[in-house]
C-alpha cells in the first residue's frame, strides 16, 4: 500500500517533468510585436511621423531656442528669464534633441536592415534618404557625431566621426537611396502605399509619382548639404560633380507648391503637432503663452511692407479701446515685471483665427502636413546655387523670386502672387536681388530669414552662422555678460555620461558653444 503511494508520487513527478517543455513555453509577447512579426510599413509610418514632428514642432524645444536667439520669437513677460537668454546652455538641455535624432534614425536604420533582407528596395531607399536628413540636422547642431559606428547594437559606445566626413558620406547615401528607389518594384514593397506618408502636392501623392517625389526630396536634401558647405575651399568642384549627378538623375528639386511633409492622417483629436503646440490645444484654448513676436523680425517686415508678418504672428487679441488687428512684439529677454509685454497684450504665433482651422498662417489647421522641407527653401537653395555659378536649371533671379512668391503663397496670403510681385519691386537691398554675388546672397539670406520664420528654424540659425548677413540683435538680459550668440550646441549629458571616452577623444569635452564652430561655418 505505502509503496504504491510512493510510486504514484514519483509517477506524478515524472509526468510533470515530461510536459515541462510546452508548459514553460509561454514567453512569446502577447502585448507588443517583436522583430518576428513587425513589417517595414508599420515602422515607416512611425519613423516619418516622428521626423515630421521634429522638423515641425521642435519649436517647443531646441528649434524654439533658435527662433529666440535669431530674433523671430521672444518669451513673454509671463515667464522669468532663464539660461537661454544669457546664451548659456547646460549639456542636459541637449539630451532631448540628440535623442530624437538618433531615435528617428534608429527606426530608419531598422527599416533599412529589414527591407534589405526582404528585398524591399523602395523602403531601403527611403530609409537611407531619411537617415541623411536626420544626420544633417545633427551635424549642423553638434559638428562631429557618432556615425559609422552609430545605431549598431553590438557597439555600445560608438566613436565620433569628423563632421565633414559625415556630410560627404550623406551625399553618397542619398544617391544610393535614389538609385534604389528608382529601380524598385513597388509590388515587392509590402504595403508601401500605407507606409509612405510623405505628402506633397496632389500630383506627387499619386502612386505613379511616388518615385519622382522621393527623388525630388533626395535631390533637394543634397543641394541643402552642398549649400551648407558653400564656404568650404574647393566646394565648387564637389558641387559641380554632385549637381551633375542630380541633373543626370533628372527628377529635379522640390518645386513651387510642393512643400513636403509627413501626415499620417491627423485629425482634430490627434492633431498636427505644430497646431497642438502653438495654436490651439484640444480644449480650444490657445496652446501657449511663452513665445511671442520678436520686435526685430516684426519691425523689419513692417518696415518693408512685408504682409507676411500678419501671418507669422497673430494680431493682439481684443484689447479694449484699441484699433482692431494690431501686432506688438517684444525685444528679446525683457524682464518679467513689464506688464506691457505680457502674453495677453503681445502677438502670438500666427495661425488660423479659430480652433476649427483655416487656410492661412503657420498653423493652418489640425490636419495640415508636418512640413519637412519647404518648397521655398528648395527654390532659395537653387537660387543660391545658381548665383554661385553651379549648374542648376533656370536663372538665379527667377528662382529667387519664385522662392519669395512661394513663401507668400504657402502662408495663404490672399492674392499671394500679385502681393509678392509688388513686394519684390522694393529697391531695399534685403528684397531687390541685385547684380553681384554679394547682393544676391544678401537678398537670399534675408528672404530665407523671413520665409523660414517659425517653419525652418534650424536653417535660420545655419544661415546666420554660415553667411553672417542678417545682423541679429543681442539679448537684453543683463545676465548675458559678454556672451555672443552661440555657434553650436553642447554635447548632451547622456553622451558625456555614457560615451565619455569617445566624446572626449573627439574633443567634445572641451568645446565652447561660443567659439567651436561647425565645420562649414567659416
Amino acid at each position: 500500500m505505502k509503496k504504491i503511494k510512493i510510486i504514484y508520487l514519483f509517477l506524478a513527478l515524472g509526468v510533470l517533468g515530461s510536459c515541462e517543455r510546452t508548459f514553460l513555453d509561454v514567453n512569446s509577447d502577447p502585448n507588443s510585436p517583436t522583430d518576428a512579426n513587425i513589417t517595414s510599413d508599420l515602422l515607416l509610418t512611425s519613423a516619418m511621423l516622428k521626423t515630421g514632428t521634429f522638423t515641425t514642432a521642435s519649436g517647443r524645444g531646441t528649434f524654439g531656442t533658435f527662433a529666440r536667439w535669431c530674433g523671430i520669437w521672444s518669451p513673454s513677460a509671463d515667464y522669468a528669464s532663464g539660461e537661454e537668454s544669457k546664451y548659456l546652455r547646460q549639456a542636459g538641455t541637449s539630451n532631448g534633441t540628440w535623442f530624437s535624432l538618433y531615435d528617428q534614425n534608429n527606426e530608419f536604420k531598422s527599416i533599412e536592415n529589414k527591407s534589405k533582407a526582404n528585398g524591399e528596395t523602395f523602403y531601403q531607399g527611403i530609409a537611407l534618404i531619411m537617415q541623411s536628413l536626420n544626420y544633417q540636422m545633427a551635424v549642423d547642431m553638434f559638428n562631429d557625431i557618432p556615425y559609422s559606428q552609430a545605431l549598431n547594437p553590438s557597439v555600445i559606445a560608438p566613436k565620433y566621426d569628423k563632421a565633414e566626413d559625415v556630410y560627404l558620406d550623406l551625399l553618397k547615401k542619398i544617391d544610393q537611396g535614389i538609385t534604389l528607389i528608382k529601380a524598385a518594384d513597388e509590388a515587392k514593397n509590402f504595403n508601401l502605399s500605407n507606409g509612405d506618408i510623405l505628402k506633397s502636392s496632389t500630383s506627387l501623392n499619386t502612386a505613379a509619382n511616388r518615385k519622382l517625389k522621393w527623388a525630388k526630396f533626395g535631390n533637394t536634401l543634397k543641394l541643402r548639404l552642398l549649400i551648407h558647405m558653400s564656404q568650404m575651399p574647393n566646394i565648387n568642384a564637389l558641387a559641380a560633380t554632385e549637381i551633375a549627378k542630380i541633373n543626370a538623375e533628372g527628377s529635379g528639386y522640390i518645386n513651387a507648391g510642393e512643400t513636403m511633409g509627413a501626415n499620417p492622417g491627423y485629425i482634430v483629436s490627434k492633431p498636427n503637432p505644430f497646431w497642438a503646440s502653438f495654436i490651439y490645444d484640444q480644449a480650444g484654448n490657445f496652446s501657449q503663452t511663452f513665445n511671442r513676436a520678436n520686435n526685430f523680425s516684426l519691425n523689419i517686415m513692417k518696415g518693408l511692407n512685408d504682409e507676411r508678418y500678419k501671418y507669422f504672428y497673430k494680431p493682439v487679441a481684443g484689447t479694449p479701446g484699441t484699433l482692431p488687428a494690431h501686432w506688438i512684439g517684444i525685444d528679446y529677454a525683457i524682464t518679467n515685471s513689464d506688464p506691457t509685454k505680457r502674453a495677453s497684450v503681445t502677438s502670438d504665433i500666427g495661425g488660423a483665427s479659430s480652433a476649427s482651422g483655416g487656410t492661412t498662417g503657420l498653423g493652418k489647421s489640425a490636419t495640415m502636413n508636418s512640413w519637412i522641407i519647404t518648397a521655398s527653401e528648395s527654390l532659395f537653395l537653387q537660387a543660391e546655387a545658381k548665383a554661385r555659378g553651379w549648374n542648376v536649371t533656370g536663372t538665379a533671379s527667377a528662382l529667387y523670386q519664385s522662392g519669395v512668391a512661394e513663401s507668400f503663397s504657402w502662408l495663404g496670403v490672399p492674392s499671394a502672387a500679385s502681393v509678392a510681385a509688388t513686394y519684390l519691386t522694393s529697391p531695399d537691398p534685403r528684397v531687390a536681388f541685385g547684380a553681384t554675388l554679394t547682393d544676391n546672397l544678401r537678398a537670399i539670406a534675408w528672404q530665407k530669414y523671413f520665409a523660414f520664420n517659425g517653419n525652418t528654424l534650424l536653417e535660420v540659425w545655419n544661415d546666420y552662422r554660415r553667411l553672417d548677413i542678417v545682423n541679429l540683435p543681442l539679448s537684453t538680459d543683463p545676465g548675458r555678460g559678454t556672451n555672443p550668440i552661440p555657434v553650436r550646441l553642447p554635447y548632451p549629458q547622456t553622451e558625456l555620461d555614457f560615451n565619455t571616452a569617445n566624446v572626449n577623444a573627439s574633443g567634445g569635452g572641451s568645446i565652447s558653444i561660443f567659439t567651436s564652430k561647425i565645420f562649414w561655418d567659416r
Partner: protein, 1034 residues
C-alpha cells in the same frame, strides 16, 4: 515556552537503545494552552530507554505496565507519569518560571519546525512574547531595529507607509532586493506584513541567507521573513481584542528662512522688489506694513495682508494623521481540530488633508487531524480602499512643494474655502505660477480599491514512521481598480487677461482608469523522511514545485470631459486612451534536502534545487543551485567547556548558491510600441528604447557564512555573530547607453559584485534582576559593505536609475551618487567667473559617496517593574550619503535658510578661485553680482547637485513604549477578562543628524527600489507619532 535545558536531556536520550518492551504507547505533550511542546524528552524512569518527541510534541515508545515516564522540556516543570493500561498518553506541562532562553525549535523554510541545533545558517526568531512585549502595531514595526542584518527603511510618511526592507544589503543591483514574506507557508506580497496583528503571531523567523531560495525558489534569494500564525488551542475559545489609536504630527520641515517675503525681481540697484503674484521669496525684508497679495479682482478689490512672517501656516496646512486599528481574534479547538478566526481593520488618515487609506482583513486558519492524515486550510481576505491627492497635476508642483514654497506672509490656511473665498478661487488666488493647493486636494484625486484572497490547503499523510507526504496548494487572487482624476478649473476672461496659462486658463477634466487582476497558483508536493539509526539521524525531503503567475491589466483614459464633474471615460470628446498588458510566468522546480546529524552534536545539511523558468530562452531555461551547511555543538562535543561561564556554544558554516531570473516576462526580444498610432486606419509601431539580449542568463548568488552562538552565565548573556560573503554575478542590468546607439539602455548580463558583512546580536536578559525590577538589554550591530568587481565590457560605470544620479562603478561600493558639481581647480576650490563672481557647472557628473548604510546599530534597553514595562529603541545608520533634491527647489524659491546666509547681499564665494589660463588665483574680492533673485534663481543653483549632497548618518530614538499589564489579582474579581494590558508608544521621538543635513530624515527616499539615496518633495515631511493600545483577552 520551550527552553534550552531540554537539549541536555534529549542528548542523553537520543543515544539510548530501545530494548524489547511489552507494548507501544503513543503520547502527546502540550503546554496548558494546548500548544504542542516539540522535542520534549520522554524517559523511562530507572531505565536507559527513552525517546524525544517530534516537532508536534508527539512520541511513541515501547513500555511495560508499571513504568514511570519522566517527561521534561526546558522551560517547563518536569513531570512523572505512570503507565498503566493506556495506549495513548496526553501530558500537560506547566511552564517553569526560571530557565534558559534559547528556543529549541525554529521555523525554517517551508514552515518546517527544525531543531535549532541543526541550523547551519543565520536565522533569527522572534517569538510572540517579544513581539507583544513591544506592543508593535504591526509585525514590521516589531522587527525594526531588532534583527541584525535586517534594514527596515521608512521612505515616506504618507498613508501607505512606504517601506523598503532588505536583509544583508543588496544581492541584485537592479532587481528585487526585498525578502520573501511567507505567511503560514504561502509566499505573499511583502506589504501584507502590516496586515498581520502581532497578537495572532506564533513566531517570526528571519532567514537571512539566500539558502532560503533552495526551498522557496528564486523569490527567497534575498532571505525570507516567515510568519507562523497561532493555530488556535485545544482549550475553550479565547477571544483577543485590541485597539490602537496613533496620532502623527509633522516633526519638522527643512531649515527655511523667515525674513523675506514674495518677490522674484531686483530693481536697477539690485534691491529686491515686492511681487504680489509670485511663489518665490526674494522680496524685501518683512516690515509689518500692509501689502497687496495677488492681482486686484475684477470688482477692484485686492487682498491686503500684513507683511510679516506667519511661522505656522505651512505647518498648519497639514493635518494630524490618525491611525485607528482594531484587531479581534477568536481561537479554539479540541483534540483533533483547531481554528483561529481573526479580523483587522486599520483606518489611516494622513497628514495630507483628505488622504485616507483603509485596510480590512479577515483570516481563518483551521486544521483537523484524521488518524494519519492531517488537513489544514487557511484563507485570508484583504480589502484596501484609498483616496489620496493626485500629485503634480501633470508636471506642476506637488502639494508639498506648493505649500513649502509659499511665502511666509501668505495666510495659506485662510484660503481653504477655494469655492467661496474670493481670494482663494482659481480667479482670485494670488499665485500666478501655481494653483491653490486646497483646490487641488479637492479636485485631483487618486482612488483605488484592491481585493486580495490568499488561500491555501495543506495535506499531510504519514506513510510510515519514516516517510510522510506533504501537499500544499496555494493561490493568491488579487483584483485592483484604480482611478486617477484631474478636475476642471474655471477662470473668467478677466483672469485670463493677466494670469499666465495654464493658471489663467480654464481647463477640462480628465480621468484615467486602471484595473488589473492577478492570479498566483503554487503547487508543492514533498516526500519527507526522518529516521534515526543509532547515533545518526537523517531528516529531509524531496519534492516538486510548480508556480504560475498571471496578470491582466487594462487601462483607459479620457481627456476633455464634457460634464466636468462626471468622471467617466465615455463622457469625453476626442479619442480615449486604451492599454492592455498580459503577463504570464511559469516556473517548475525539483527540490531535495537532507540533514544528517550525528549524536545531536554534529549536523550537515545538503540541499539542491533545479528551476526551469519560462522567462529564459527555451533551450537554456534550466539552472541548478546547491547548498550545504553544518552546525557543530562545540559545548557538547567538548563537555569540559560547559560550566557556569559557558552554557552553550555552537559553530556554524554554510555555502549556498541561488539563481534568480531578474526579468519580467517577454524580455528576450526587442519590442515595438504603438505610440500615438493608429491614425484612423493607419497603423504604426516604433522600436522600444531598450535593447534586449535573447541569450540572457539568470543572476547567481554564492554566499558563504560562518558564525557562532554563545550562551553564558546560565544563558543570561547570549551572543550570536555571523560573518558572510556573497558573490553576486551575472547581474541582469539595463545598462544606460548613449542615445547614439539608437537605444537608451540594453538589458544584459553585466556587473558582478561582492557583499561582505558581520551581524552581531547580543542579549543580556536579565541585565539586572531585583525581583520586581528587571532590566533587560538587547543590541545588534551590523556591518555591511559591498564592492563592484565588474561592470561590463568596455564600461567601468553604469547608471542604475533615478536619472543617472545613482550609479555603480568598478572597484567601488554599490550604489554611488553621481552628481553635477561646480567647476573646480585641482585643489578642489570652486572656480568663479572673474566678472560675475559665480561658479559654472562642470560638464560631466562625478561620483560621490555610497547610498547604502555601512553600519547599523539597534539598541533596545527595557525595564520592567512588576506589571509596568518600559522599552526603548535607539537606532543608528551611517556611512552612507544622500542627495537632497529638495534643496534645489528650496534655493530656487528663496525659502532655504541657506539663501540668507549672506543676508541677501553679494558675497565672495567661499574658498573660490578665478582662472586665467591654467593659473588659479584665490578670490578675495570678487563679489557675486547679486545677493537676491538674480543670484539664486540662476540656473547654476537649479542644476548643481553636489551642493545638496550630505551625510545620511543618523541616530534615532525610534520608539519609546510604556506598557501596563493588569495584574491577575485585579482581574480575579470578574470573569469576563482573562487579561488586559495597555500601552503608550511614541515613535520617531528624536532624530540626530549632522549639521550639514538641513533637509529631511535621511531615511526618506523617492523610491522603494534600489536607487535610494535621493529624497525629493515627493515625500511628505517626517512625522512624530504617539499611540495608545488596549488589549483584552476574554
Amino acid at each position: 515556552m520551550r527552553r534550552f535545558l531540554s537539549l541536555f536531556t534529549m542528548l542523553m536520550l537520543c543515544s539510548l537503545l530501545a530494548f524489547s518492551q511489552s507494548r507501544v504507547v503513543t503520547g502527546k505533550i502540550t503546554d496548558k494552552d494546548g500548544r504542542a511542546i516539540p522535542f520534549a524528552s520522554v524517559k523511562i524512569k530507572g531505565s536507559p530507554n527513552g525517546v524525544s518527541a517530534d516537532d508536534n510534541g508527539q512520541y511513541s515508545l515501547k513500555v511495560k505496565a508499571g513504568d514511570v515516564l519522566t517527561i521534561s522540556s526546558s522551560g517547563f516543570i518536569q513531570v512523572d507519569v505512570a503507565v498503566e493500561n493506556q495506549t495513548s498518553l496526553f501530558t500537560t506541562l506547566e511552564r517553569s518560571t526560571k530557565g534558559d532562553i534559547k528556543e529549541v525549535v525554529v521555523t525554517g523554510a517551508l514552515n518546517r519546525k527544525i531543531n535549532a541545533k541543526s541550523v547551519g545558517t543565520a536565522i533569527t526568531t522572534i517569538g510572540a512574547e517579544d513581539l507583544t512585549k513591544v506592543k508593535a502595531v504591526n509585525v514590521q514595526q516589531g522587527l525594526t531595529g531588532r534583527v541584525a542584518g535586517l534594514n527596515v527603511q521608512s521612505v515616506n510618511s504618507g498613508v501607505f507607509a512606504d517601506t523598503r526592507i532588505t536583509l544583508r544589503g543588496v544581492r541584485s543591483l537592479t532587481g528585487n532586493n526585498q525578502p520573501l514574506l511567507v505567511i503560514d507557508g504561502i509566499p505573499v506580497s511583502l506589504d501584507l506584513i502590516s496586515s498581520i496583528s502581532p497578537n495572532d503571531v506564533q513566531d517570526v523567523s528571519v532567514l537571512k541567507s539566500n539558502a532560503a531560495a533552495i526551498l522557496y525558489g528564486q523569490d527567497g534569494a534575498n532571505g525570507a521573513i516567515v510568519i507562523t500564525t497561532k493555530k488556535g488551542n485545544r482549550s475553550k475559545p479565547t477571544i483577543n481584542f485590541s485597539t490602537t489609536a496613533q496620532f502623527d504630527k509633522i516633526a519638522y520641515f527643512p531649515k527655511l528662512q523667515n525674513e523675506f517675503g514674495p518677490g522674484e525681481t531686483e530693481d536697477a540697484n539690485g534691491l529686491p522688489v515686492y511681487d504680489y503674484f509670485t511663489n518665490n521669496s526674494f522680496g524685501p525684508r518683512y516690515d509689518g506694513s500692509m501689502v497687496p497679495l495677488g492681482h486686484p479682482l475684477e470688482n477692484g478689490q485686492q487682498f491686503m495682508v500684513p507683511y510679516v512672517n506667519l511661522p505656522n501656516e505651512r505647518f498648519n496646512f497639514f493635518n494630524t494623521g490618525v491611525t485607528l486599528q482594531t484587531d479581534i481574534s477568536v481561537s479554539g479547538g479540541d483534540e483533533k481540530s483547531r481554528f483561529l478566526l481573526s479580523a483587522q481593520d486599520a483606518v489611516i488618515t494622513g497628514i495630507m488633508p483628505k488622504d485616507k487609506n483603509r485596510r480590512t482583513s479577515f483570516r481563518l486558519n483551521a486544521s483537523r487531524d484524521f488518524n494519519k492524515l492531517s488537513v489544514g486550510f487557511n484563507v485570508n481576505y484583504i480589502v484596501q480602499n484609498y483616496s489620496v491627492v493626485n500629485q503634480g497635476r501633470g508636471g506642476f508642483d506637488d502639494i508639498y512643494t506648493s505649500v513649502i514654497k509659499t511665502a511666509g506672509n501668505v495666510p495659506l490656511t485662510s484660503l481653504k474655502n477655494w469655492r467661496s473665498n474670493p481670494y482663494a478661487t482659481a480667479d482670485g488666488y494670488y499665485n500666478f505660477f501655481g494653483y491653490n493647493p486646497y483646490m487641488l486636494i479637492d479636485i485631483d484625486r487618486s482612488t483605488g480599491k484592491t481585493h486580495r484572497v490568499i488561500a491555501s490547503t495543506d495535506l499531510n499523510y504519514k506513510l510510515s514512521p519514516v516517510f510522510s507526504l506533504t501537499y500544499r496548494l496555494g493561490t493568491t487572487l488579487s483584483i485592483s481598480n484604480s482611478r486617477s482624476q484631474l478636475g476642471a478649473t474655471f477662470v473668467t476672461p478677466f483672469t485670463a487677461s493677466y494670469k499666465p496659462s495654464p493658471w489663467g486658463q480654464s481647463t477640462k477634466a480628465s480621468v484615467n482608469d486602471f484595473s488589473s487582476t492577478g492570479v498566483r497558483v503554487s503547487s508543492e508536493l514533498f516526500l519527507n523522511f526522518k529516521k534515526n539509526i543509532k547515533k545518526f539521524s537523517i531528516d529531509g525531503l524531496v519534492g516538486n514545485s510548480i508556480l504560475s503567475r498571471q496578470t491582466n491589466s487594462i487601462g483607459n483614459s479620457g481627456a476633455n470631459l464634457v460634464i466636468p464633474t462626471l468622471f467617466n471615460v465615455s463622457n469625453r470628446t476626442g479619442e480615449p486612451g486604451v492599454s492592455q498588458g498580459l503577463n504570464q510566468v511559469r516556473t517548475v522546480s525539483a527540490i531535495g534536502q537532507a540533514t544528517i546529524g550525528y549524536d545531536n552534536k554534529i549536523f550537515v545539511t545538503l540541499s539542491g534545487r533545479n528551476d526551469w523558468d519560462s522567462r529564459l530562452p527555451v533551450k537554456a531555461n534550466s539552472f541548478f543551485y546547491p547548498g550545504v551547511n553544518t552546525s557543530l555543538m562545540i559545548s557538547e562535543l567538548i563537555p569540559t567547556l560547559k560550566g557556569n561561564t559557558i552554557s552553550s556554544l555552537k559553530l556554524k558554516g554554510s555555502y549556498a548558491k541561488s539563481g534568480n531570473v531578474n526579468l519580467g516576462a517577454y524580455q528576450l526580444n526587442n519590442s515595438f510600441s504603438v505610440g500615438s498610432f493608429p491614425y484612423g486606419n493607419l497603423p504604426g509601431y516604433s522600436i522600444d528604447d531598450q535593447l534586449k539580449d535573447p541569450n540572457i542568463k539568470p543572476e547567481f548568488i554564492v554566499s558563504k557564512e560562518i558564525g557562532f552562538e554563545l550562551a553564558m552565565f546560565k544563558n543570561k548573556v547570549r551572543l550570536e555573530v555571523n560573518a558572510y560573503r556573497q558573490d553576486n554575478t551575472n547581474q541582469i542590468i539595463g545598462i544606460s547607453l548613449p542615445a547614439s546607439t539608437g537605444y537608451t539602455s540594453s538589458l544584459v548580463n553585466a556587473a558582478a559584485f561582492v557583499n561582505e558583512g558581520i551581524e552581531t546580536e547580543l542579549s543580556l536578559t536579565p541585565l539586572l534582576d531585583l525581583g520586581k525590577l528587571k532590566i533587560d538589554f538587547k543590541g545588534n550591530y551590523t556591518f555591511q559593505q559591498n564592492k563592484v568587481t565588474k561592470v561590463y565590457e568596455g564600461l567601468d560605470q553604469l547608471s542604475i536609475g533615478n536619472g543617472g544620479l545613482v550609479v555603480v562603478k568598478k572597484g567601488q561600493p554599490a550604489y554611488l551618487l553621481n552628481l553635477l558639481d561646480y567647476n573646480r581647480d585641482p585643489q578642489g576650490r570652486v572656480i568663479v567667473d572673474a566678472n560675475t563672481g559665480t561658479p559654472s557647472l562642470a560638464g560631466a557628473r562625478k561620483t560621490y559617496g555610497q547610498t547604502l548604510p555601512k553600519h547599523i546599530i539597534g539598541l533596545t534597553p527595557s525595564i520592567s517593574y512588576g506589571d509596568l514595562a518600559l522599552s526603548v529603541l535607539f537606532e543608528y545608520r551611517g556611512g552612507n550619503f544622500i542627495y537632497n533634491d529638495i534643496g534645489q527647489d528650496l534655493v530656487f524659491n528663496g525659502i532655504a535658510a541657506s539663501t540668507v546666509e549672506y543676508d541677501r547681499q553679494p558675497f565672495v564665494w567661499p574658498n573660490s578661485v578665478t582662472q586665467t589660463g591654467s593659473t588659479f588665483t584665490p578670490n578675495t574680492n570678487i563679489y557675486t553680482r547679486s545677493g537676491n533673485a538674480n543670484l539664486y534663481t540662476n540656473s547654476i543653483f537649479n542644476a548643481v547637485e553636489s551642493a545638496y549632497y550630505t551625510s545620511a548618518d543618523f541616530w534615532k530614538l525610534r520608539e519609546v513604549a510604556l506598557s501596563y499589564t493588569f495584574p491577575q489579582s485585579l482581574l480575579a474579581k470578574q470573569k469576563l477578562f482573562k487579561a488586559i494590558s495597555a500601552s503608550f508608544i511614541a515613535r520617531n521621538v528624536a532624530l540626530w543628524v549632522p549639521s550639514s543635513n538641513q533637509y529631511t530624515d535621511p531615511e526618506f527616499a523617492n523610491t522603494t527600489g534600489n536607487a535610494t539615496g535621493i529624497n525629493t518633495t515627493g515625500q511628505t515631511p517626517p512625522t512624530r507619532s504617539l499611540g495608545v493600545t488596549f488589549n483584552f483577552t476574554f
